[in-house]
């Protein structure tokens, strides 16, 4: 932790996220077949895998957007249950960024960012706005504060979505394919924001297909297939010397 750029996870600290034997069914179809996952504070974990492998579902169970039928999830010492009070408490600690941005179209950018701090955290309006403007500056779109989401480009919208999640001062950030809905020329601006967030020491779980980004930013890469974690390794190992046959197939597919 001496240098922010060199921030790495510290396995001696108690884990930020512990998920044990997570199982989930859609009807008779099992999407998650007993997933185990531990994430240390300040660790950046990238989930990769083919579509339908359950990586989005896994990340969505971590803040209770999807329920799991079996297994335990503990976020920063609080067990995730169906009790709405527990859920809301956990969600305040876990920020989430979606593939489709999901900004509130009837509110300005500034209102999008201040709404939760004001109503959920009970922050005074002025303090919330000041904080929001700082965040907008951090993601590089301070001048768009008074616009509506519909007036922004996809990349700008996704950066607002990141600022909106950060405004709750979460301990963990979840990214569910944050660049998949973006035009190629806008992907970089979003990845840059995420990179600097990782460098600042945020605990992050990211579902993405951006190989270069994963290789550079991740501390650990998990490959999921058929509702299971097939392999986990450091980016270096994973991309140069994968152990599992399935990983080799996947890499061959995405690296062409």
């Amino acid at each position: 932790m001496t240098d922010l750029l060199e921030a790495t996870s510290d396995p001696t600290l108690p884990p930020m996220i512990t998920a044990h034997n997570i199982q989930k069914w859609y009807g008779s179809f099992q999407v998650l077949k007993g997933v185990d996952l531990e994430v240390s504070p300040q660790e950046v974990v990238v989930l990769m895998g083919p579509s339908g492998s359950g990586k989005s579902t896994l990340i969505r169970t971590l803040n209770g957007l999807e329920t799991h039928e079996q297994g335990r999830i503990v976020i920063d010492g609080v067990e995730l249950t169906q009790n709405p009070k527990h859920l809301e408490a956990v969600r305040r600690e876990v920020g989430m960024v979606f593939q489709q941005f999901n900004l509130f179209p009837h509110l300005t950018v500034l209102q999008n960012i201040t709404l939760a701090p004001i109503w959920v955290k009970r922050l005074p309006k002025l303090a919330a706005q000041e904080k929001a403007l700082q965040l907008l500056e951090r993601v590089g779109i301070l001048e768009q504060a008074q616009k509506y989401p519909g007036q922004l480009s996809g990349g700008q919208q996704q950066r607002v979505a990141i600022a909106r999640a950060l405004a709750m001062e979460p301990k963990i950030m979840l990214f569910d394919e944050p660049t998949s809905a973006l035009d190629p020329e806008m992907i970089k601006e979003v990845l840059d924001v995420m990179r600097s967030l990782a460098e600042s020491g945020m605990t992050m779980i990211i579902v993405t297909h951006e190989v270069g980004f994963a290789r550079e930013v991740a501390h650990r890469i998990l490959l999921m297939d058929g509702g299971q974690v097939v392999e986990q390794a450091t980016p270096e190992e994973f991309f140069t010397n994968p152990k599992e046959e399935r990983s080799r197939q996947f890499l061959a597919q995405i690296l062409g």
């Binding site: 803040n63 209770g64 957007l65 709405p84 859920l87 809301e88 408490a89 969600r91 305040r92 876990v94 920020g95 989430m96 979606f98 489709q100 999901n102 900004l103 509130f104 179209p105 009837h106 709404l115 939760a116 109503w119 959920v120 509506y148 519909g150 979505a161 909106r164 999640a165 709750m168």
Partner: protein, 405 residues
């Protein structure tokens, strides 16, 4: 074709040249042989109907039936010596409306023009109907109230304190609504006036307003109930909505008159007016619920997920994120239903409430005005139309306000 619409857009007060007019006619009305035929046919219809109507209105119609009964049409049998209370109500409504309007948007010349036009219209109406000096005085006073409250609104907007006072405006509306009801019904110092004497336009507007205001929250709650994950709540909502939508309004109104007294404990007696409002409200709410449900379903689930992920509770999500968007999406449909509700009040004349349509029936039943249906019902239609068109305009303005978001 191009120069004319542009001029209209810029609102330039110049007359189009003869050439441009001819070109416009050629292009829009006389472009093909069937277009020419259609134009001639339409002209013939307009001249025939319009000419006949004008001839009838000037030469044949006897407007005395309307002017003699204007008070009856407007306020029915409300005691003459208590009429000042209704004038006060009108003044209060005009004052509150112009004040609110003035504070919500900057007061411009065209608004002043509009107020002046309405004022002139009111005075003309008063003169035509041979109103007495008192009524003329009231009309003048209310016009002054309108001017005064709009100036007051402009002044308030310029005060530094105003942004903190503005959120209290709805409280002002609530207080004036209570004041209006007290002025109309009396009691607490005023002579009570029984609801059987509230007739005509007074009753129509009162019933419609109360039914609209009461059915809106009920409709939203039913829509939410129908979308709820709690099976009992959902079942009850669906049952209620489908039951009411399967019944004719007139049947519900009859039942409201007959059934409520049987269902309620004997010490509570609702008078006919309250029963009618209850019937209209319960009916309208079921239809509103379906409209609002359409709005709710038009929102992507991502809105719910984003709100949940930020830690919003369900009530906060509904109030801050879901309902504002869902209701905005269905403003035209909701206002359409309110317009329908306003006109549906005419059915009350069948269950014994003498509102606008009821009073028209009793006027045409008077021996000295026998057979003067056309005059009375034409004026009746005009009154209904003015109110419905007003709501339509308000709807358009609301949509326009949200259109850029």
């Amino acid at each position: 074709m191009e120069p004319l619409p542009l001029k209209q857009k810029l609102n330039l007060p110049s007359l189009p040249s003869l050439r441009a007019t001819w070109q416009w006619l050629r292009q829009n009305l006389l472009s093909t042989w069937y277009n020419i035929l259609l134009t001639i046919f339409c002209l013939w219809v307009i001249v025939w109907v319009g000419g006949g109507l004008t001839h009838w209105a000037i030469a044949l119609a006897q407007w005395q039936v309307v002017t003699d009964n204007l008070r009856l049409i407007l306020v029915g049998r409300y005691p003459v010596e208590q009429l000042w209370r209704l004038w006060l109500v009108l003044g209060l409504m005009v004052g509150v409306k112009t004040f609110s309007w003035g504070t919500l948007q900057s007061w411009q010349r065209k608004h002043l023009l509009r107020v002046a036009l309405v004022g002139v219209g009111a005075i003309l109406l008063a003169l035509v109907s041979q109103a007495d000096g008192t009524s003329l005085g009231w009309v003048g006073a209310i016009a002054l109230v309108a001017l005064g409250s709009s100036s007051l609104a402009t002044w308030c907007r310029q005060q530094a304190l105003w942004p903190r006072l503005q959120p209290w405006l709805p409280l002002g509306w609530l207080v004036s609504a209570g004041l209006i009801l007290w002025l109309i019904s009396g009691g607490a110092g005023l002579t009570p006036v029984s609801t059987t004497f509230w007739n005509g336009l007074l009753l129509t507007v009162l019933v419609a307003t109360l039914s609209i205001v009461l059915s809106f929250p009920l409709g939203v709650l039913l829509a939410l109930g129908r979308r709820s994950s709690l099976p009992i709540l959902r079942g009850l909502s669906i049952g209620y909505i489908e039951l009411v939508r399967g019944l004719p309004l007139i049947g519900i109104l009859f039942m409201a008159q007959v059934m409520f007294p049987l269902l309620l404990p004997p010490q509570i007696t609702l008078d006919a007016l309250a029963r009618a409002i209850a019937g209209l409200t319960l009916f309208s709410a079921a239809y509103l619920a379906e409209t609002v449900r359409g709005g709710l379903q038009s929102l992507p689930t991502g809105q719910w997920e984003a709100a949940k992920a930020l830690g919003f509770s369900t009530p906060l999500t509904l109030g801050l994120i879901i309902l504002p968007q869902a209701l905005r999406a269905v403003i035209p449909a909701i206002v359409g239903q309110f317009i329908g509700l306003f006109k549906d009040t005419a059915l009350l004349s069948i269950v014994g409430l003498v509102e606008l349509t009821g009073i028209a029936r009793s006027i045409t039943a008077q021996p000295e005005y026998l057979g003067r249906y056309a005059e009375v019902y034409l004026v009746l239609g005009l009154i209904y139309w003015v109110f419905c068109y007003g709501m339509s305009l308000a709807s358009r303005r609301l949509e326009h306000r949200f259109s850029d978001r």
